[in-house]
Amino acid sequence: MVLCLLIGAVQVHADSDPSGYSAADLYNLGNSYARMGKPGMAILNYERASLLSANDADIDANLQYVRASAHLPGGKRGSFDRMARFASPFLLSWIGVFGLGVVGASMIAAQLSPRHRLLRRGAMLLGLSMLGLTICNGLALWPILHEGVIITAATPVRVSPVPMGDPLFTLPEGETVKIAAEHESFALIETRAGRTGWVAHPNLAPIVPRKQAVVPPE
């Protein structure tokens, strides 16, 4: 198990990218877009920053402020969301792995020796709690991972995924929508009001980018 954790740590370390995402960079990027009067891109980057740092008060405050300034409905977080996202997903990943190890060790110990039953049960409970925290964090983040932000003003929502498709209605810049499916260069979205339609990719940015590669600045 120790070997496995070591391998995982090495892999995670290798996975870090100096030109990748950081909560501070995304937060600052959101501020820049807000100052330029682009609420859609600002909200998008605040949402991305909150994925990495869920309990950052500045991120949450600026996100709510830009939403309110753009006359968009505020996305207040519920109590479950606040509890499940008390730490960053990175830390909760390791907590989950450790909890998994504790649960497994407790189960093996119970088979090997009948002694120290209370200690074993306590360890089992601790491991399950740690694993539960990670699972709750995943449940809280899962909808956000499938959401997107409208980044252009008066974005047409079309009846079919083709550029010539008839528009059903328009969405304001900064609106957060659920991405239900994708077809070629269009995404099937569902608004908070339950309306569905197809939006062209240039008008919609998923909170989790479609591709990992970051476009270098020209």
Binding site: Y21, M36, M164, A205, R210
Partner: protein
């Protein structure tokens, strides 16, 4: 008959004279006009007579009415004796030929006169396939002698003709050939045109035949003809050599009197007189053009391009894309314009398909013709394309293949490639936006923002939580598998440590039987010893052999498993100890105490 007609003419003159006298007595107006008949069909003519009573010869100008044609066909001057008073009068007789249907108002010839109204209805009457029937007498020709232009073959009575003009004598299957169909009708001798012209051969089709033909007038052999010209596209569907002609259904006026009696009518050349005295009757005929030989060739298979879709003609192409700058994911419009002449209905193109770094959609096309029949013009194809990668991208050149009937070979027109500048999409870029500088006014969102952060954290390559990333899912999976294997191993080890020796009966019933046998052995009760063993084995064997437990006897055991085994020996000893009273030795008890558990566990002797 001729005497009767003369009498009618005399009576008509008397009536007209009386009418003129009444008008003269009324003293107003001195000039009047009449039109007969007041209602005619298109293709017929009416008679307009302007009469001037009195000595004055006031100048009379021809009326001008749009859609009506006025022709002076005669002038008369006479002196009438009315109530002993001589009254000179002069008349001008005009033929009025309508060019279109409708209700026309002919202005008054003098200020005090009333305007006249002429109602012209559209040509009516069904199309008759009856040419001049073979048995019917051929009417005398109206025209005789004179030169007729080349390509015009008048009907036998000289009243009409149809001419089909084809610009070439060799065409290819599928080729569109512009043709003109000319129907000439001698003024006053054709009542109506009863339908559109058509071809006599089913191997050809007329496409885009104009419903409104061009109307002109032509003088043929000194006679006035109204000529309608239709323009169309001739489509060929089958190879071979054909004699092609066109036909048009007409209603003509057939003379009913001998020619010598209608010399005056011919001199006037006017249907009015014929109608007035019943000299003609209407007849439906089909007028055909003289046949023209047309050779239809197959398209050559040699050198046919793969993208040839049947276009035949002369074409050129041009292409452009708009806008020339866009973001990744923005739709662009790629246009291909095909200009020329030919069968544009077969001009088709899929444009671009499967181009790297581009997403293409099926194109739409539109056609703008430069002639009424759609033979020449420009067909425009518009294809939405979307770039998938940023940078300077290039759209490959387009091509269009067609068959040129002039050069008699396949040609491929090509356009140049197009360059497009594609910028990265904002949503995928982590580059801070380029502001217009510090002096640029900040937006309304800037006022309440909290300040920027200092970045100290290690950046991650993905926003997806590590526990949901497929490449990192191996860690918990490996942990789960490792602990599952360890737990299974520990459980097995514990189970092994708790398990009893193999020679001990594990079930509760076996233990009970063993206890009974041990008790019987201690007391030396051989009958009880073997009876307990047999009683324990009977249900087991009965279940296995599907018989009743009391049927499991020594004989049954011998039958099923033989006699040379512990099971049969056990049953035999049980019978012997029970019925003979034999007491086995202590060694025998110990041996059977080992054998019986095995029999109970296996159901048979080892």
């Amino acid at each position: 008959m001729s005497g009767y007609l003369r009498l009618v003419r005399l009576m008509t003159a008397v009536v007209l004279g009386t009418f003129a006298t009444a008008v003269a007595l009324a003293d107003d107006p001195l000039v009047y006009a009449t039109i007969q008949p007041a209602q005619i069909a298109l293709g017929e003519s009416a008679q307009l007579t302007i009469t001037n009573l009195g000595d004055t010869t006031s100048p009379i100008t021809l009326p001008v009415v749009s859609g009506l044609k006025f022709e002076i066909i005669g002038r008369t001057r006479e002196i009438q004796l009315i109530n002993g008073t001589t009254l000179p009068s002069s008349s001008i007789v005009m033929r009025v030929t309508p060019q279109i249907a409708g209700i026309f108002t002919i202005p008054a010839v003098t200020p005090k006169a009333q305007p006249l109204v002429l109602q012209v209805t559209a040509a009516s009457g069904g199309i008759s396939s009856a040419q001049t029937s073979p048995g019917a007498p051929i009417p005398p020709p109206i025209l005789s002698g004179g030169s007729i232009p080349k390509g015009i073959h008048l009907t036998d009575d000289g009243s009409a003709y149809v001419r089909l003009s084809i610009p070439k004598r060799e065409v290819y299957v599928g080729e569109s050939v512009p043709v003109d169909i000319e129907v000439g009708m001698r003024s006053g001798f054709v009542s109506s045109l009863n339908g559109l012209p058509r071809l006599t051969d089913d191997n050809f089709a007329l496409n885009n035949l104009s419903h409104q033909p061009e109307r002109t007038e032509k003088l043929i052999s000194g006679e006035q003809f109204v000529v309608f010209t239709w323009r169309s596209i001739l489509a060929v569907v089958k190879p071979g050599t054909f004699a092609l002609s066109a036909e048009a259904p007409l209603t003509v006026k057939i003379r009913t009197r001998p020619r010598r009696e209608s010399a005056l009518d011919d001199r006037f050349g006017d249907p009015f007189w014929q109608n007035l005295f019943g000299a003609t009757v209407p007849k439906d005929i089909n007028v055909k053009s003289p046949p023209q030989e047309l050779k239809v060739l197959e398209l050559p298979t040699e050198g046919r391009p793969a993208d040839f879709h049947g276009a035949i003609g002369t074409f050129s192409i041009a292409s452009d894309v708009s806008p020339a700058k866009a973001d990744v994911g923005d739709p662009l419009t790629l246009r291909m314009r095909i200009t020329g002449s030919g069968n544009f209905d077969r001009v088709d193109s899929t444009m671009l398909d499967h181009v790297d770094q581009w997403k293409t959609y099926p194109p739409k096309s539109s056609f703008n013709t430069s002639d009424p029949v759609g033979f020449s013009g420009m067909k425009t194809f518009e294809q939405p394309v979307i770039a998938s990668k940023p940078g300077a991208q290039e759209l490959p050149g387009l091509s269009f293949s067609y068959f040129d009937p002039n050069t008699r070979r396949y040609e491929t027109a090509r356009s140049a490639s197009l360059s497009v500048s594609i910028s990265p999409s904002l949503a995928d870029s982590l580059t801070p936006p380029q502001s217009a500088g510090n002096a640029a006014p900040e937006s309304r969102y800037a006022a309440g923002l909290r300040p920027d952060h200092v970045n100290t954290a290690t950046p991650a390559s993905s926003l997806i939580p590590p526990y949901l990333q497929p490449k990192l899912l191996g860690i918990p999976s490996f942990i789960v598998l490792a602990f599952a294997a360890g737990w299974a191993g520990a459980r097995r080890r514990r189970a092994l440590s708790r398990s009893e020796p193999a020679d001990r009966p594990s079930s509760r019933a076996a233990k009970r039987v063993l206890a009974q046998m041990q008790a019987a052995a201690r007391t030396g009760n051989a009958a009880g010893f073997f009876d307990a063993a047999r009683t324990a084995l009977q249900p087991l064997l009965a279940t296995r052999w599907q018989i009743e437990p009391e049927d499991v006897t020594t004989a049954e055991v011998a039958t099923r498993v033989g006699t040379q085994n512990d099971l049969h020996q056990l049953f035999a000893l049980a019978d012997e100890s029970k019925y003979s009273g034999r007491e086995p030795s202590a060694i025998d008890f110990a041996r059977w105490l080992r054998v019986v558990p095995l029999l109970l566990s296996n159901g048979k002797s080892t």
